[in-house]
Symmetry: C2
């Protein structure tokens, strides 16, 4: 059940019996007639403006309404705003709020598992559109939707869904174009069908692109990613790594320079008294997520570097042996380790003389400031030249480590 | 001796007795006559080109010659290249190689101490020019310069320094301008005096600006900083944090997009067989420096955040008390901690019902995947709501910490 194919039909017969004919019709006929219209009708500028405005309004119905308001309850909307968003969302023709939000809550609760209705397990094409065309083998996981059942606007929209879709998805654009600039068919094609196709695939990109490409600045446990292109297509919904980590936050992006117009819209509504109780995840906890991811990155860097040999891996050598071998090799002792610095004698920035004078000796004090207080880089370089650990005989200076031991992770779970 | 004033004269008398008259004359008369010339002579385009070329050549004498070749021996130069650089450097009029490199080695060896001839301790003005105008109270610290005493070109340049300065600093530009486009005075003023003043202050900026402003991506133990503006003024010498940490590296900048034309020049000379043995600090050790600085930054972030209470700071509560208090408060147990989630019940993205059903219970299993496998963010949020530690009675599930404990620092010094 957990393989890539789990949601996909295995034979033509199964496929046929599981096709969602209605969805298939909408998602194939809309673009087909749209393309036909675009090839046969010239695009006048008033229709272009209508199509663009209609793109923004209907997509906003999905992002600010279906998604952030009803799926996640990330803010409270006044009744007029609720009706406005319910109608705009219907114009996007992506199912009723009730159906959409239920599936979306499943998606959050069961992300990347076979109970997720558009699980990234099934490949990018399935996430984008496949799940809408073919019934899944496994029913999507259960999610709590009592609040939606008790919501008057959600119920009203669900009951009148087909009428609303007809009027606001198809007919209204044609009426506007016909009445105001005599281009009913053009408006129907461009602001109706073409616009709807664009809104569809932009929305779908959140499930496909933003679960496959982009950065994970907050958590990489699951597939959601912050994907700028998707954000540009979807009024800000592409910052999907943030969103899955902090789903009840009314924002999908937190940096001022990130494109999240849905957030700006909700914030604007608050200024006009139309929205309230905008929910924010505490900044302190958001920063912890970022910190953890940055640490992970540094851990990767750390693991990619070569570190000095640890004492356990080195031979233990006594002072006499060290003295004897120093006659043949360029050995010096620093901090209890024996180092072979043959390759460095001629390259020493402090000069050849200083370093040669320390061969066969304990140069700890000289190295740690007695002669020169060496940089971290010098300490790192030296430690890579360890060839042994000195045993007994020489008093080892008590030295503070140069690189402070940072306690970088606070464990806050269990124990 | 370690205060900001240590190198500065205390009374007018002392000041007067310590002035370096020759330097003062050069560093004040050159700009004065330069400004006079610029006000009285129009600038013709040939002279402008000469001045700019002369700026590049003489500055290169300092950066590729005085600094990277002779002060740091970061590569080997063929004899023709040595003479070329020695002559160009003389044209910059900043003292002989021998004098310059000796002081510069002191500067590296005793950076930021009173033995540093241009120590940042003494303020930015002193670093920029003050140290050249007034003798220091404390003699600069000793640095090994035997190699320079044994260097034929260095000795030749030192012995003929004043002749070289006269010819290549002042007379040659005038001759070129006079012979080729009849503008001897213009070339003297612009390509001689004005150009020299610019080269002076650009070079000085490394000691002033690049020890005061900019980033410390490799080490912040001392004042040197990577300062882009200074790099633009000085053919790449402004990446001074890198340089002080890795002084024997022929590069001052390692990223391809950073402006370090001196490095490009040396590399080019190698292609033509004029330079060899270009020294590189091992990449592995450079990355360790960067890693350590990045960790320091994250440590600062970590310290600025509020972390959950530790068990020692919480009351120990038994199961019966927990049960009793849960009747009045929204208490749940997860991982042995008691949490008060009153403020979260209505905000829970998993719904009110699920969370309320766990009040007065041990919700560890539910929270850790039994019902929902919560994100890191949820764990962080929960841990901030700790109000007690549960004592006895309930078996605590053995749980892996969600945030992995990264061992981010390898101590490579001592112990
Ligand atoms: C053991 C006796 C040593 C003495 C007395 C000594 C002394 C010095 C001095 C005086 C400098 C300053 C150079 C300058 O003026 O720029 C210096 C720099 C340096 N030394 Fe050593 N050194 C010793 C050993 C080593 C060893 C064994 C290594 C590494 C294998 C090393 C690595 C370096 C490095 C990388 C620098 C340049 C970076 C910096 O300024 O900290 N030294 N050393
Ligand atoms: C104790 C019993 C709990 C249960 C059974 C439970 C269940 C759930 C479920 C099913 C979800 C998925 C929501 C969705 O569909 O988007 C969820 C999300 C979440 N829960 Fe809980 N929860 C519990 C307690 C808590 C507590 C005490 C906190 C914090 C104080 C918390 C914080 C969160 C957060 C932040 C999320 C959203 C982030 C994420 O998807 O991981 N939960 N919870
Ligand atoms: Fe998602
Ligand atoms: Fe969502
Ligand atoms: Fe410096
Ligand atoms: Fe230097």
């Amino acid at each position: 059940m957990s393989t890539k194919q789990s949601q996909l039909p295995t034979s033509p017969q199964t496929l046929f019996s599981r096709i969602r004919w209605f969805n298939l019709a909408v998602l194939s006929l809309t673009p087909s007639f749209g393309v036909y219209g675009a090839c046969t009708r010239p695009l006048v500028w008033q229709t272009l403006i209508l199509a663009i405005s209609y793109y923004f309004l209907t997509l906003l119905g999905i992002t600010a309404g279906y998604h952030r308001l009803w799926s996640h309850r990330s803010y409270k909307a006044s009744i007029p705003l609720q009706y406005f968003l319910a109608i705009c969302g219907a114009g996007a023709v992506q199912g009723s709020i009730r159906w959409w939000a239920k599936g979306h809550r499943s998606h959050h609760r069961y992300t990347d598992t076979e109970l997720d209705p558009y699980s990234a397990l099934n490949g990018i094409l399935y996430c984008h559109i496949g799940w809408q065309l073919v019934k899944p083998r496994v029913k999507p996981g259960h999610a709590d939707t009592i609040d939606l059942s008790n919501d008057a606007v959600v119920q009203w929209q669900h009951q009148n869904y087909f009428v609303l879709v007809l009027i606001f998805g198809y007919i209204l654009p044609a009426i506007i174009g016909g009445v105001f600039w005599g281009d009913a068919w053009g408006a129907f094609y461009y602001a109706g069908l073409v616009r709807m196709t664009v809104v569809h695939h932009c929305t779908f990109a959140v499930n496909s692109l933003a679960h496959a490409f982009g950065d994970a600045p907050f958590d990489d446990k699951h597939t959601p990613r912050d994907h700028v292109l998707t954000a540009l297509l979807t009024l800000g919904e592409g910052y999907h790594n943030f969103h899955h980590e902090f789903p009840m936050d009314y924002r999908n992006a937190i940096k001022w320079y990130q494109y999240d117009p849905t957030k700006w819209f909700i914030y604007g509504c608050q200024l006009f008294g139309l929205a309230s109780q905008l929910r924010l995840f505490p900044d302190n906890e958001i920063k912890k997520g970022e910190l953890n991811m940055q640490l992970k990155k540094l851990k990767t860097t750390q693991d990619s570097l070569v570190w000095p040999a640890s004492p356990e891996d080195l031979p233990i050598v006594d002072w006499e042996t060290f003295q004897r071998e120093s006659k043949e090799r360029h050995l010096i002792v620093v901090s209890g380790f024996i180092h072979d610095i043959a390759d460095f004698v001629e390259n020493h920035p402090g000069g050849r003389a200083l370093i040669v004078s320390q061969i066969g000796k304990d140069a700890t004090a000289a190295f740690f400031g007695g002669v020169y207080d060496h940089s971290n880089a010098a300490h790192n370089l030296l430690s890579m030249r360890r060839v042994g650990v000195l045993h007994g005989g020489v008093e080892i200076a008590k030295i503070e480590p140069t690189i402070p031991s940072l306690r970088v992770v606070q464990l806050d779970v269990s124990t």
